[in-house]
């Protein structure tokens, strides 16, 4: 890789050992991925979690080493002009009553929140930065963690980010640079799989089903959806999250909708492949069924907001819950960013949800908390997929309305 004089100097330690390490990560990563240079990056979404239950049972030495790295990173400043937000923290900061939410972890997370803010990060603590103000422009070079947000940024917004991990996003935040490879180039944004959609998609979760189906077929490629109609922002959020759960997708196109796919042919840069896979009403049904295997219908948890809920979703949940109450023994959690909850507070949605026995959680992800749940109803395919192994719960994935019906009844009541 060809480095500038300044970049070489940083690599050689001119700005200290940590930035030298950051530069080495970017250079070695770029070289392995075929990059020839580093290019400016003006927008990042970094990952600064305390280990919490990602490393349940980890030795104090591991935790110290991990936290030490984050502390060291946060003694630096974000690159001038780089808009840097922060991913979900894995401990909620508002006193969530689960045994795993231990005060020491909360203290560490608060320390990192303060340090990252001091370093220039905006501590959004969300998996959906595009809902809370970090909305990169078309063509903007970004370095985002959170696989679902990467797909959203590339596909829906037309921004350009490869799939970043915590180390590369931190390096990009501090250096304002990323290695140029993958979807940063026009030619690597061409569709690789044609998906013909004949099923009617009636909810965001239906769009999640489409993504969950297409992810493994696309692998690391770029699926193109044709015939799916026009998604809402919430629909698109579910589609992108599911694609990056069952697959390793960096971006997709929705023909006639997303900015780089005005037509089906444009999504494939001119030549529409003859072969396609079909997403039919039957495929939609079987995709739901794949995340509904269970031994009973009684439920103890309804988890909404994966990825983090938008204000519109919170408004919908509040409207569905108005005048009703969540069944005894059922926890109803709506996960969102704290700034979105601020809006929900102001608009009265929080009160409605709380009066119904539900709760809005900020900053966190219950799947990472591994809350003690036996059977979870959720509207997110991503949550349903991971919760089985991470929480050890049975799952039922369903549209929001059916989730709320289950919450009120205390048992799965079906889709309609």
């Amino acid at each position: 890789m060809q480095l500038t004089v300044d970049q070489s100097a940083i690599l050689d330690g001119a700005q200290g050992p940590y930035l030298s390490t950051c530069m080495r990560w970017l250079v070695e990563w770029g070289e392995a991925m075929g990059a020839r240079r580093l290019v400016p990056c003006s927008n990042t979404h970094a990952l600064l979690p305390v280990p919490n239950l990602m490393a349940r049972g980890a030795s104090p030495k591991t935790i110290d080493a991990y936290i030490g790295g984050l502390r060291e990173a946060c003694t630096h400043r974000t690159a001038p002009g780089c808009y840097c937000t922060v991913h979900t923290s894995f401990v909620t900061l508002d006193g969530l009553d689960v045994p795993e939410n231990d005060p020491e972890q909360v203290r560490l997370q608060q320390e990192l929140a303060d340090m990252s803010a001091e370093a220039g990060f905006i501590p959004t603590f969300t998996c959906a930065p595009y809902l809370v103000g970090n909305v990169p422009l078309m063509g903007e070079v970004c370095a985002w963690t959170e696989s679902s947000a990467v797909v959203y940024a590339n596909s829906i917004l037309g921004a350009r980010t490869t799939r970043h991990g915590s180390e590369s996003a931190m390096a990009a935040s501090l250096l304002g640079l990323v290695p140029e490879f993958g979807v940063l180039f026009d030619e690597n944004r061409k569709g690789t799989l044609r998906v013909e959609v004949s099923a009617a998609l009636k909810s965001p979760t239906d769009w999640g089903a489409l993504g969950y189906f297409a992810g493994p077929l696309a692998g690391l490629g770029i699926p193109v959806f044709h015939g799916a109609g026009r998604p809402s922002q919430d629909d698109a959020k579910q589609l992108c999250a599911a694609l990056a759960t069952s697959g390793g997708v960096t971006m997709c196109h929705i023909a006639g909708v997303t900015p780089e796919a005005p037509t089906l042919a444009a999504a494939f840069h001119g030549v529409i492949p003859e072969h396609s896979v079909a997403f039919t009403p039957e495929t939609l049904r079987s995709t739901y069924a794949s995340l509904r295997k269970r031994t009973g219908d009684a439920i103890d948890s309804v988890i909404l907001g994966c990825p983090h809920a938008s204000i519109r979703e919170i408004a919908e949940i509040a409207a569905l819950l108005k005048g009703k109450h969540v069944a005894a023994g059922v926890r109803l959690w709506v996960d969102t960013a704290s700034s979105t909850k601020g809006g929900a507070d102001a608009m009265g949605y929080t009160r409605t949800i709380e009066e119904a026995g539900g709760r809005i959680l900020c900053d966190t992800c219950p799947t990472n908390l591994r809350m003690g749940a036996r059977r979870i109803v959720t509207h997110g395919f991503k949550q349903a997929h991971y919760a089985r192994g991470m929480v050890g719960a049975e799952v039922i994935v369903a549209a929001t309305e059916a989730c709320i019906r289950a919450a009120v009844a205390g048992r799965w009541m079906g889709d309609e």
Binding site: A32, P51, S59, G165, G219, G248, T367, M390
Partner: protein
């Protein structure tokens, strides 16, 4: 007597490692599908569910899913339960980043189909510097 075959490949992240092969024609996310502390696959219904990755040469199609993969590889490495090497058919940028940060070699572009040439339990040697994979067959029968 040990029989071995030598397969040419491309080293993506340099290094040298030996270990027992764990082989599946599947994709895997290290966050959410692997417990970093035990090194075990926790994904329900995954073909590798319950298998330990620690010290293994992991032969899979590619990583997928979460951007937490490098972070989880880091935690697994600190706990001594990271794979010794990755052999991938396709290369996900997240696997590469995780391997660079944690000093784990990763190879791809094998001149033979790895899912035919390598079986779970085979002892394998990955030389990502020279671009060579050596397979020492289980029970010596290749």
């Amino acid at each position: 007597m040990t029989n071995s075959v030598q397969i040419r490949c491309r080293g993506v992240v340099k290094g040298h490692a030996e270990g027992e092969a764990l082989v599946a024609d599947a994709m895997l996310s290290f966050w959410g599908e692997v417990d970093a502390v035990t090194g075990k696959v926790i994904a329900v219904g995954h073909v590798l569910e319950g298998q330990s990755l620690g010290g293994k040469v992991l032969v899979i199609r590619s990583t997928k899913g979460s951007s937490g993969t490098p972070l989880m590889l880091n935690l697994a490495k600190l706990e001594g339960n990271a794979p010794a090497a990755l052999v991938n058919v396709e290369v996900d940028s997240l696997a590469v980043l995780g391997c660079i940060v944690n000093g784990i070699p990763i190879i791809t572009d094998l001149e033979q189909d790895p899912f035919a040439a390598i079986r779970t339990g085979d002892r394998v040697e990955v030389d990502a510097d020279l671009g060579i994979l050596r397979v020492f067959a289980l029970n010596g029968d290749l």
